[in-house]
Amino acid sequence: MIHIETDTDLCIASGVCALAAPAVFDQDEDTGLVVLLDADPAEEQAGAVREAATMCPNAVIRLTERA
């Protein structure tokens, strides 16, 4: 299982995460900043979430693996 944390202070509203894993990341209607929908997503989201974390331009998304 992965656990997700986001540091919104760094977010530049690029939308990369919401494109890669729309079930897990959304964006605020007014600011475009990341909104974490699910901090402990199901296993089938893991690939998309890892992609989002790697592609996030400003290292906003931190993942920890949990057994």
Binding site: S14, L19, D30, R50, E51
Partner: protein, 412 residues
């Protein structure tokens, strides 16, 4: 599949070996090594960084590497040494100052829903441009008559400005990336566009509409530290001129590459659902901006090389996007490549503002051309297509094509 055909070899050479030479006293340097000491066309010596992890680190850490010198000025002799920064030139800002600007763009160009909402407009524009070339005399220059009009019309739509004003945008955008243009001509083109944006600002303040600039103004005025007119001018200027030219160049380069690799073209025609991964693979694979300029603000180290505060560093996004440690078989064009976290839209706080828009435009254009013009082919051997010599970003200068017919657009 081999990529060492004439065309790729020419384009890739230009992007990799050239335009940098080894710096004086570093003649032995391996230009493709992890860190190479190079001399840039503007005549400055810089550390060229080529490995994926190092490129990402340089671009991601503004506390060590500042954007203050401007990200492309090392390529332009006329821009060196850099002029004092103008108000609102956010591409040269760092930290919180820069973030203030980036957040103004985010919701307009980065929000996934906003981009989805633009899709019908992009589709309409692409269809209109294909209708227009259907009756044109062949061969048709796909760059002038399709790629440029499409990406220009999309930005005009986003800003709600008349497409008829496009010459102004084109002049300014090409001046920004032209290696050989003289300072006076470039300044004149920039000044004209700035004056245009000024008028636009006055108009949008009085009659706010549903366009990106009006939204940015309205949101800014409701915020804690509203943008000044000078700052808004820079924002409007950047939105209008920063991206359509690069995106048009990319679209033409993609079409040329498909002519060069007919098997890949056939694969895409057969399975159009590959379009999204194909777009990112083209952006990864094709040579673009060779290096993005940063300046070290502290003494530091990259791949074991000592970098002193004040040294210039070039983040080799093209080389990093071909790093075999990260991309299996990096010289192979693989339209289904996943994952594909290439660096050609940049990384870190300055990563491309327009990347989602560019992805959308390229995807819709590619899908639609392949669907509506299945007989499209290059009018000359691909090795004879002229490449741009005067622009920082490599790509075809023109792309002459012929076709039998343009099929009707799909109902939306």
């Amino acid at each position: 599949m081999s990529v060492s055909t004439d065309l790729s070899a020419r384009a890739v050479d230009r992007a990799r070996g050239c335009p940098f030479a080894a710096a004086a006293g570093h003649e032995e340097t391996d230009l493709n090594g992890p860190v190479a000491r190079v001399r840039t066309p503007a005549g400055i010596d810089a550390w060229m960084v080529n490995r994926y992890d190092d490129v990402r680190d340089v671009l991601s850490d503004a506390t060590r590497f500042s954007s203050g010198a401007g990200s492309i000025n090392h390529m332009l002799p006329r821009m060196w040494p850099p002029q004092p920064m103008e108000p609102g030139d956010f591409n040269r800002m760092d930290g919180a100052e820069h973030l203030r600007f980036r957040r103004a763009f985010g919701i307009e160009l980065g929000a996934a829903k906003r981009i989805d909402g633009l899709r019908p407009a992009v589709q309409r524009i692409v269809d209109e441009r294909l209708d227009a070339i259907a009756g044109a005399e062949q061969p048709v220059d796909l760059h002038e008559l399709f790629s440029k009009p499409v990406t220009t019309a999309v930005i005009a739509d986003l800003m709600d400005v008349p497409y008829e004003d496009r010459q102004l945008f084109h002049d300014s955008a090409s001046a920004a990336l032209d290696i050989n243009i003289d300072v006076e001509t470039a300044t004149a083109a920039f000044d004209k566009l700035k004056a245009y944006v000024r008028k636009l600002l006055v108009d949008r303040r009085e009659n706010p509409g549903d366009d990106a600039l009006s939204h940015i103004i309205t949101r800014s005025e409701a915020g804690e530290k509203p943008f000044t007119d000078d700052e808004l001018e820079s924002i409007g200027f950047a939105l209008i001129s920063a991206g359509f030219d690069v995106t048009a160049g990319m679209l033409t380069f993609i079409m040329l590459t498909l002519f060069e690799f007919p098997d890949e073209m056939a694969r895409l025609v057969e399975d159009p659902s590959l379009a999204p991964t194909a777009v990112d693979e083209f952006v990864r694979y094709l040579p673009g901006n060779v290096g993005i300029l940063r300046q070290a603000i502290v003494d530091t180290e990259i791949a074991g090389v000592q970098i002193k505060a004040g040294d210039y560093v070039l983040a080799g996004i093209g080389a990093g996007s071909h790093d075999a440690e990260v991309f299996p078989d990096p010289e192979k064009l693989d339209l289904a490549r996943t994952p594909n976290s290439h660096l050609n839209f940049g990384r870190g706080p300055h990563a491309c503002v327009g990347q989602q828009l560019a992805r959308l435009e390229l995807r819709v254009a590619l899908e639609t051309v392949l669907r509506r013009v299945p007989s499209l082919r290059c009018a000359v051997p691909v090795s004879e297509v002229p490449l741009r010599e005067d622009n920082i970003v490599p790509g075809p200068a023109h792309l002459p094509v012929v076709f039998d017919e343009v099929l009707p657009a799909q109902e939306q």
